[in-house]
Point group: C2
Chain length 299, copies 2
């Protein structure tokens, strides 16, 4: 592994996720908090207009605009397409290589604790995950391999990953989660510093992680009604599943509750681990939760 | 007390508060759930466009548009001003008196449980509150007398009140709170039915309620910065106060935590009871919480 020379921390890729927004503002005000002897750290805000307006995005989800195709297409003129190109340039100023690491700070209404989301099983990231989960049980590792082609900011570099913090409502700050996220950031930066100095922090030799299997939508009305892209929802997350991210869901366990009060059960063949349960921004995307499998691996 | 003949239940006065939106949709689909022998119940959605777009409002807060002055001003053309006039007409169709009761369903990111918010100490509402708090400890009564002139929907009739349900994030459904709100609605309608039939449900003879004293804003940067109406926030709700709505706050208790990690304490002279702590929609209004006094009264 070569040295890490430049790290980018991005907050407010979604404008209504305030934990990252205010952490980045703090880091911009006190850069000594995030710089380390062996590398430089850049803190930047993502969707500036959406942050001002307290929205996830203005015209389209910025965190789906980072495909190669979009970044090279000079015809795209939405605010988010333009901002995506600006961010790409900030991450790779002229005469400099692209940043080595992108840490993309998000928050979620799902009870994700402090989740690191990786695009793949990169050995460096797995060792980082093993270390962080060993020092803080709130840290969880979710691996979503489908996401390389999705236009996510994190996919711009090999060591790009997301931190998802929750449960917290959109457009509010939860001080406890803010402080926990801040401490996690320092632990990550200190880990990089140790690696650069040939002094990798001690850790568990195994990592527990959760790997994406499939997306579950809400039960919806059959027909496209002209208004709801995915049809109108007919049920809610079941009270017994709400806030139970990363806990086992067994065949036959309740999953949804219809507005009429009827339970809907999980009909899969084996135990799975739901994550992103009841994320506010995913209703419009047709996602009630992701199902994952739990794995342990030696790193 | 004369008979209650017509009751209106409004959901989605704010478009991103889904508990009320989906309860009203359920009531519209199954009107027998809300009709009673002695009165008629109307269920209607408030801010239709904002519900479609998953926002609190489109141009301005609909729940500040119901002043007499605005309702009579034909020059006002914003979506919300227009919708306010439509709602007023729905609540008073030609040749009929105005509805006797308005129940305005809201949700909040504050931990308000099932809060009833009254504009004044109307004896009928206080007896209703005494009854509901006696059958369900989640029910709380908050009296905000400043609110008559605020253009609130509930102020259109003497027996208008708000139900605030939380903590729940904007743009999600929490099934447990949905069901608790639904049961509360039936208890209220059954209470009205009993009153109409001269058979008022038995209750405690005292009511505990919380009366508005003052509004507390977040600590903010001094100067208006051209962007933030109230200056940029400098601190978060303190972790020891978060989710502690209706609990005592004593002089010297921590209230806020600055981004730099410094505690800010409550400096009032006497114990108060904060409510609406960390409501997402109130950041832009300059409200971190309301302070209230706790009272008991014989009804």
């Amino acid at each position: 592994m070569s040295q890490i020379e430049r790290v980018a921390i991005v907050g407010g890729n979604h404008g209504n996720e305030l934990t990252g927004v205010y952490l980045v503002k703090k880091f911009q005000q006190y850069p000594n908090l995030i710089n380390r002897g062996s590398f430089e750290t850049l803190a930047l805000l993502g969707n500036l207009k959406a942050i001002e307006e307290g929205k996830r995005y203005i015209e389209k989800d910025l965190n789906r605009c980072f495909t190669n195709q979009s970044l090279q297409n000079t015809q795209l003129s939405s605010y988010e397409d333009t901002r995506a190109k600006e961010i790409q340039q900030i991450l790779q100023p002229q005469n400099l290589p692209f940043v080595d690491v992108i840490i993309d700070l998000h928050s979620t209404t799902a009870n994700m604790g402090l989740s690191l989301i990786f695009c793949d099983m990169h050995p460096f990231l797995l060792r980082l995950g093993a270390y962080l989960t060993s020092i803080n049980p709130m840290v969880k590792i979710f691996i979503n391999q489908q996401s390389r082609e999705g236009g996510f900011l994190r996919s711009l570099c090999e060591l790009g990953f997301v931190i998802e913090v929750g449960a917290v409502a959109q457009n509010i700050l939860n001080a406890e989660l803010f402080q926990q996220t801040e401490q996690l950031m320092y632990a990550i930066l200190d880990y990089f510093e140790g690696c650069n100095q040939g002094n990798i922090p001690q850790s568990n030799s195994t990592i527990t992680f959760y790997q994406y299997i499939e997306t579950i939508d809400y039960p919806r009305s059959d027909a496209y009604d002209g208004l709801h892209l995915h049809g109108e929802i007919q049920a809610m997350i079941h009270p017994q599943l709400q806030f139970r991210d990363y806990e086992p869901l067994h065949p036959g366990d309740p999953m949804f509750l219809t507005f009429a009060g009827k339970d809907i059960f999980y009909e899969g063949a084996s135990t799975v681990y739901p994550v992103f349960i009841n994320e506010a921004a995913y209703y419009e995307k047709g996602i009630a939760m992701y199902l994952s499998q739990k794995h342990q691996e030696v790193v």
